[in-house]
């Protein structure tokens, strides 16, 4: 253990193997050694992560709900206990309601765009120290997930599938700096590219330098050939600042994504693209288009989007 010569040999061997791995991985290719390492790791650790996520969720919920019981009076203790259990019930029912709402939103957006989706839950998140933004979800090749499928949630585009294990899949998020997606301005139909910038908002480049880009313009995905990696019509975000770039070949703007990447939990993976481009019919409805009389007491006036006729191609 203290033999420095032996120690150095071991260290040198390990460092060389690490570098070999890096170079092999950068050369990449289907079925390469590193590719196989990744897929076996997904097969082994996918179930472990699923189990860990399943354990962690109720436990953290429970810790949140239970307050300390330290009273000298038994009656107070009993009441507090009852209170705690009721609070816990309330909190879990709230959690259930939230999840039901997320699922509702997801189904609505899938219905509007006629995407066929597989719902999945985020079970693991990549570290910021890795300088990439990725998450793992609990659906994999067994559920029909393959590489380069579009991932969305009730708000809009989340990312695309980059690798798949038997029961898990890894998603590259829209705000990753290596992420790029073709986009269409919903109003003017101008096309451009949206790039992720980490914690910063997304960057939009519109191909036509004369295009009118205004704050508040909504963006949807342009769609790729055969819907891979992107199906058309998924809401991406809203322009919130337009850069003045006189003389540049493209117009640039900053875009705020619809999806909140810090609270990602339920997502949908599009396993079958729509037959027709849904254009911008999937975009969130603009806030209060007509001031309705406020006499109605029903809690959720339906926006009526489900009754609108299907968009023309």
């Amino acid at each position: 253990m203290r033999d420095t010569r032996r120690t150095r040999i071991v260290l040198a061997v390990l460092l060389l193997s690490a570098m070999t791995f890096i170079i092999l991985d950068l050369r990449g290719g289907e079925g390469s050694l590193t590719d196989r390492m990744r897929s076996s790791a997904a097969a082994i650790f996918g179930p472990v992560e699923r189990a860990a996520a399943a354990v962690v969720r109720p436990v953290s919920n429970f810790v949140d709900g239970v307050t300390s019981i330290g009273s000298n009076d038994e009656r107070i203790a009993a009441l507090e206990q009852e209170n705690d259990s009721l609070q816990l019930q309330l909190r879990t029912s709230e959690l259930d309601r939230n999840r039901a709402r997320e699922l509702d939103d997801l189904l609505k957006i899938a219905g509007l765009g006629r995407y066929r989706i597989v719902p999945a839950e985020v079970i693991a998140v990549g570290s910021e120290r890795g300088f990439v933004r990725t998450v793992t979800v609990d659906a994999g090749s067994r559920d029909g997930i393959t590489i380069d499928q579009t991932v969305l949630n009730g708000d809009g585009l989340v990312g695309r599938v980059t690798s798949v294990g038997p029961s898990t899949a890894t998603i590259l998020l829209l705000n990753d700096p290596s992420f790029a997606v073709g986009a269409r301005l919903a109003g003017t139909m101008e096309i451009g590219a949206v790039r992720g910038q980490g914690r910063e908002p997304l960057a939009l480049e519109v191909l036509n330098p004369q295009a009118e880009v205004a704050v508040g313009d909504a963006l949807v995905t342009l769609g790729s050939r055969d819907g891979r990696p992107f199906v058309p019509g998924v809401p991406i975000g809203e322009v919130y600042r337009v850069a003045a770039t006189p003389g540049a070949l493209t117009r640039t703007a900053l875009v705020r994504p619809y999806v909140d990447f810090t609270t990602l939990s339920l997502v949908g993976i599009v396993v079958q693209p729509p037959r027709r481009d849904p254009r911008d019919s999937v975009l969130p409805s603009p806030p209060a288009p007509s001031p309705a009389p406020s006499t109605s007491t029903s809690p959720s006036p339906s926006p009526g989007t489900s009754t609108s006729p299907s968009p023309s191609p």
Binding site: T7, F45, E49, A124, G126, F131
Partner: protein
């Protein structure tokens, strides 16, 4: 001794990596929050010496490289954590006596780890490695690791020492 040591290190490595991915990272703390694999590695390598430190670091790093949702080049974390384990093992006899020195070592290694990983990423052209991102990751990691080190490293050192010396475990 060797077998129980391997069992201990495998258990610590798997636990640290899985907890990091499923519990710590979803909290979305600035800089990625505390680095449990690094803390686990330091706790073990301080007692077990440079060779075991380097091998354990390599193994933990390789796990971080391949376990989903990892997306960097395979071998990147292995390279960095192998060095971290080696250095920890080398300075172990001088450091492990004082809690203050252990925390200082954790702070230094956390910074070195993030910067070294970023440097490798930069060489191979990873688009996410930018000045502000590196700064945030370094400061965040060092801060959270220093806060958490007193609760994680000493118990692990005690456990490793016990496995090393107790004839019942041998």
């Amino acid at each position: 001794m060797t077998f129980t040591r391997i069992m201990l290190n495998v258990a610590v490595a798997v636990t640290a990596v899985v907890l990091q991915l499923t519990v710590v990272n979803p909290l979305d703390l600035p800089g990625g929050g505390p680095d449990l694999p690094l803390l686990g590695l330091v706790g073990l390598a301080l007692v077990q010496g440079p060779i075991t430190g380097a091998v354990t670091g390599f193994a933990i790093g390789l796990m971080l490289d391949v376990v989903p949702p990892a997306d960097g080049a395979i071998g990147q974390w292995a390279l960095v954590l192998c060095l971290v384990g080696y250095v920890t093992g080398l300075v172990g006899p001088d450091v492990r006596g004082s809690a203050l020195r252990v925390v200082a070592l954790v702070a230094g290694l956390s910074a070195v780890e993030v910067l070294a990983y970023a440097a490798i990423g930069l060489i191979f052209g990873a688009p996410g490695v930018t000045g502000p991102a590196v700064l945030e990751a370094t400061l965040g990691t060092v801060g959270y690791d220093v806060l958490l080190a007193p609760f994680v490293v000493p118990p692990l050192m005690a456990l490793a020492r016990r496995v090393e010396s107790d004839p019942m475990w041998a």
